[in-house]
Amino acid sequence: MLTDGSRRLVMDIHVNGEIRNVIVRAADTLLHILREQLGLTGAKPGCENGDCGACTVLVNGWPIKSCIMLAVEAVGHEITTIEGLKDTPIQKAFLKKWAFQCGYCTPGFIMNCYALAKIHPDADDTMIQEWLGSNICRCTGYEEINEAIKSVLASNPHLGAKLL
């Protein structure tokens, strides 16, 4: 597999429910491989320094900034990108609440919101602020994003996992 130390690694990663075969440099970030080899361009390169959250994907259901994760670390884990979400309540809520402007940060925010609603369907304002503080919106559309996640949580706080 990939533990032999070679500089080019052939490996399988599990993305959006599919097994995908990729050839990577050990130094490649997950973000780079998702975009450049798998064509999954929903995760956006922003700061590429772990600050902005535009590249957020889920790793085993938890939000991770894919610019600060090596692709080789993804082996054995389930990766979900924005392309892996279809018609989820949080996506609909973003539309309904106009929770985007230029849209560049939107996939990262949605992935983070999706994970929050699934892991903590009873999240309160403090937790929402803590989680979403990981993402930056240059258009400053925070209020609408806040409304979107709250509408999903409020729709059935006890069934967050089923909602999504």
Partner: protein, 280 residues
Amino acid sequence: MISFDFEYYKPTSIIEAVNLFQYLHQKGKKPIYYAGGTEIITRARRNDLSMKAVIDIKAIPECTVFQFQDNKLIIGAVITLTHLSEVNVFPLLSRTSSGAADHTARNKITLGGNISGRIIYREAVLPFLLSNSQVVIAGPKGIKYASIHQVFKKTLQVEAGEFLVQVITDKNYINLPYVVARKTKIQKVEYPLATIAAIKRKEQIRTAFSGVCSFPFRSLEMEKELNDRSVPLRVRIDRAISHLPGPLLSNVEGTAEYRKFVLGNTLEDILEILEGERGC
């Protein structure tokens, strides 16, 4: 993008990791141990690191431990800061660690990485300095146990080939009254002007700091002054600040003078809370 290549290894035992390090070191690969990797990736992207091999320690069972055993809390080096908060068996640690970076980043940042890193702001070490914790370090000479005070002096003092495996904390420290104060200039998610963790044990207050000087620290001289209740509170604080172990940081987050102002006021709040027994 990281502009240079390196090799990636993922050993499944301590001995394998240590042997790999020695082998790669002899081959001139300048290996480094890798846990969460957030600091390594960002520094490598800036060409601030030039390793030719990384040794990922996340598959080493001893590094993934998180349990109580014989009245000790044992935490493996690759436990993430988020996991510490979610499980919340050591509230002081959960609270202090949750000040590092942001929530999503903490899903990747590990306890060992935060303690062993080179970044100035390493909040996760503060509870262990207050609790006189032990650390387990693996290296070419085997496994060694040491007081955190012996090995953490501004940074984790490990020899070539050594890495942090676990941190062990006496259960008696887990539920002591505590206060954590993290002061930032404007926003919640930014580097702090000061992070102060404090506990009260046997009527004595212990304090540890990050973001005040260019390294995290606990100062017994400062604690002696802070606990001298024969003088007014503000005098105790001013005397304590005069014993800082290094120059106050002066950077974009705040000037040294402003930090001193914030530090004094925050210590006053903390002492009032803990001496009034209102610790969290």
